[in-house]
């Protein structure tokens, strides 16, 4: 068997870069810290590609199945003989795929940021945090056990927090970073509970034994039940809660749009391509457990994903901040991936949804990173996030225009670009296993095409906005990643994904199903067509539609008031009726008890301090008379 122990370097290199740049960055020239970060990531990327090549082409399959390989493992924290937390590297098809996704996008973002962040205060800090994030994300995808995944899960949460709050002088960035951290942390509480229940029932943290189809873990699962569902199902639903928080699924999605306060490359890396798909990855990682011992949990995944994708797509149609449109689009696409997992079954052709979901994760990472980096180039040129300030930019930003158009065509599902294949496979899986979800996803596909081309036309066509100074094309460090990712967006669809990734590790053959593909192409074209009519030229008709929808439009524009509902629930209900009584109890009962002990001691010592008179003879008298009394007492005791 091929030796994979070198893979442990892939996460460690960014860690060293983080320590080096983080500790010494302020002494270097900014560009040096940027180059060190980029070089570190380049090495990690090369190693990842090498790993993928070794794994898929040079490693023997047993019974035609890709094996899970434990490349490196060490006991990190041992509690008892059986209960220990390990750190290690697990190589299997999805972790290798994620290695490629994470290192590729991260490398592109590192290169892009050299141009984008030029002249920003704290350039070295930015690169240090990017490396920290890359380390945590790589550790997460390579995790050998669910507890290691949880550790790195929190680490990516911290890096996300640090990077959203990069402009910490801006109050909105600070509150956005806090919001992201608190919401995901709340979701992670569910994840932790899920881990505890799951490992208590199965007696293991380890992914290999957890997901072994014939292993004890899956077979013991269906035992006790609670509220009509088995304990296993409950634990997996809790685990999914963590995944839903990180992946911004409804109703834990509120942090993602605000997270756009961070620098745009960060949004591309963390909040589009890698960290937010960690939830999908988590479900995929535990997929055999979901599919075999908790099909109800999988149904929850499917419905949450489907609803989130519809919900986000509707909101995306009304937003004006281009990054927020993309944020809602991300949420919607992750919903697709969840649907893909949710409608999938375990094994063979029935596992199409699983494969499609991973496929879509891959292509989505490419085109969504491209969209965000393109948006960054636009913001860089226009100095505004709002599409109201844009229009007619195609003349000024030719490269950005072409690459952005490619990304829009890709996400809209135009034939023979990558997302066409991956999205259609999700739709096919839904078509075969869950008809209502299929219809919803079809509608969302149309909405996606509409809002993406609304964005595209509003930015690059529409009216000719007058700019204070002529927008200019971005430098080569920014356009190179755009071109690279555009090529990836076009061609990544031609990777025969089902040959590499499948629910049970056995490669299978998947074909485009034209009965699904043709309607989805039509829906996509209709969406593009409507956007073309409404936004190609400056016209009042879109305003008229908005006005005719009245309060409905306002509700959508305000994201269905979910932020306000959460604020109401937390500030008005939880703070007033739970936090205040608890705080009162702490202040008056707990602290009061401690204070009264101190008060009693103080009062007693004040009373008896008179004994300490300073008169030596008094002390001597007390001493002698006590000695005499004790003597009498003992003589008396002795005599009876």
């Amino acid at each position: 068997m091929t030796n994979f122990s070198y893979t442990v370097l892939i996460p460690l290199i960014p860690l060293f870069v983080f320590l080096f740049v983080g500790l010494l960055g302020h002494k270097m020239k900014p560009i040096v810290s940027g180059l060190i970060g980029t070089c570190g990531l380049l090495i990690a990327a090369i190693l990842s590609y090498f790993t993928a090549y070794q794994y898929f082409f040079n490693t023997e399959k047993i019974d035609g199945t890709y094996q899970k390989i434990l490349a490196f493992n060490t006991i990190w924290l041992q509690f008892t003989e059986k209960l220990h937390v390990d750190l290690g590297v697990l190589i299997d098809p999805i972790s290798v795929m994620m290695l490629i996704v994470v290192t590729t996008v991260s490398l592109m973002v590192h290169i892009y940021s050299i141009g984008y962040m030029k002249g920003e205060k704290g350039f070295a800090r930015f690169y240090a945090f990017l490396s920290l994030f890359s380390f945590s994300m790589l550790g997460l995808v390579l995790a050998t056990n669910i507890f290691q995944m949880y550790i790195f899960w929190e680490l990516v949460g911290v890096s996300s927090f640090l990077l959203i709050g990069y402009y910490y002088e801006k109050p909105s960035a600070v509150s956005a970073s806090k919001k992201a951290f608190i919401v995901t942390r709340f979701a992670d509480l569910g994840f932790l509970i899920g881990i505890l229940i799951l490992s208590f029932n199965t007696g293991t943290f380890d992914f290999i034994s957890l997901t072994n189809v014939n292993g004890a873990a899956i077979l013991t699962g269906a035992g006790a039940s609670f509220l009509g569902l088995s304990v296993m199902t409950w634990s997996l639903i809790f685990v999914f809660m963590g995944g839903a928080g990180k992946s911004a699924m409804f109703p834990l999605h509120i942090w993602l749009p605000d997270a756009m306060e961070g620098p745009t490359p960060v949004s591309a890396l963390i909040h589009a391509a890698t960290m937010v798909v960690a939830g999908v990855y988590l479900v995929a990682r535990l997929f055999p457990v979901y599919a075999i011992s908790a099909p109800d949990g999988l149904l929850v995944v499917a419905y949450v994903g489907s609803f989130s994708s519809l919900f986000a797509a509707v909101i995306a149609c009304t937003q004006y901040d281009i990054k927020r449109v993309l944020a809602f689009s991300t949420m919607s696409q992750i919903g697709y991936m969840m649907v893909g997992l949710g409608v999938s079954k375990y094994g063979g052709e029935a596992g199409l949804g699983y494969m499609a979901s991973m496929f879509h994760l891959f292509t989505h990472a490419m085109f969504k990173a491209l969209l965000f980096l393109g948006a960054g180039a636009i913001i860089h040129a226009v100095h505004s996030n709002s599409m109201k300030d844009m229009g007619g930019l195609r003349k000024y930003l030719p490269i950005t225009h072409i690459t952005f158009l490619i990304a829009c065509l890709t996400i809209a599902g135009v034939p023979f670009l990558s997302a066409f294949f991956s999205k259609d496979e999700i739709l096919t899986a839904a078509f075969h296993h869950n008809m209502p979800i299929f219809i919803v996803q079809m509608f969302v596909a149309g909405l996606t095409a509409f809002y993406m081309f609304r964005l595209y036309f509003r930015i690059f066509w529409n009216k000719d906005t007058h700019y204070h100074h002529t927008p200019h094309e971005a430098p080569i460090t920014m356009t190179f990643p755009l071109i690279f990712l555009a090529i990836a967006s076009i061609f990544s669809g031609y990777i025969p994904f089902s040959q590499f990734v499948s629910s049970d590790g056995v490669p299978f053959h998947s074909e485009l199903e034209w009965t699904v593909a043709i309607p989805s192409i039509l829906v996509g074209l209709i969406g593009i067509g409507i956007a073309f009519v409404l936004y190609k030229k400056e016209s009042a008709s879109s305003q008229k539609i908005a006005i005719s929808l009245k309060s409905f439009y306002v509700a959508i524009y305000n994201k269905f008031y979910f932020d306000e509902i959460y604020i109401f629930v937390t500030k008005k209900i939880i703070f007033n009726y739970i936090s205040r009584p608890v705080a009162w109890f702490d202040r008056h009962i707990v602290d009061g008890f401690m204070n009264s002990i101190a008060w009693v001691t103080n009062a007693v010592s004040f009373r008896i301090k008179g004994f300490q008179s300073g008169q030596v003879q008094q002390y001597a008298f007390v001493f002698v008379s006590s000695a005499i009394l004790l003597g009498i007492f003992f003589i008396y005791l002795y005599s009876i």
Binding site: K609, G610, Q612, S613, G614, Q615, V616, Q617, A620, F621, V624
Partner: protein, 105 residues
């Protein structure tokens, strides 16, 4: 070795001396007098050592040596105590024990 004097005579004398010392130590205000009272107590103890040694373990000498030891310590103690008293006098212009009450609460 019986001298004919009963042991109680010695013990009563020693007890009276000891409590005279205690009484003096507690009641007299002059530090020198208090020091003398302490010497009185020590000597009462010395008598006890000698008497018990003589009457209970006539063949042995521990009691004698111990009383010699106590006398030596008492001499040293007197030297230290007088040095202290001189310093107290320099600080307080008095050797009245009731005036040296700075070390209180």
């Amino acid at each position: 070795m019986n001298t004919g004097i009963p042991i109680e005579y010695f013990l009563v004398t020693a007890t009276l001396m000891f409590f005279a010392g205690v009484y003096g130590f507690v009641t007299r205000k002059n530090l020198i007098t208090m020091l003398m009272s302490v010497e009185l107590m020590l000597n009462a103890v010395n008598i006890n050592f000698l008497v018990f040694n003589r009457y209970l373990f006539p063949g042995q000498l521990e009691g004698h040596f111990f009383s010699l030891f106590v006398i030596a310590v008492a001499a040293a103690e007197a030297a230290v105590a007088i040095a202290l008293i001189i310093n107290i006098y320099r600080n307080f212009q008095s050797i009245d024990v009731e005036k040296t009450d700075e070390m209180k609460f």
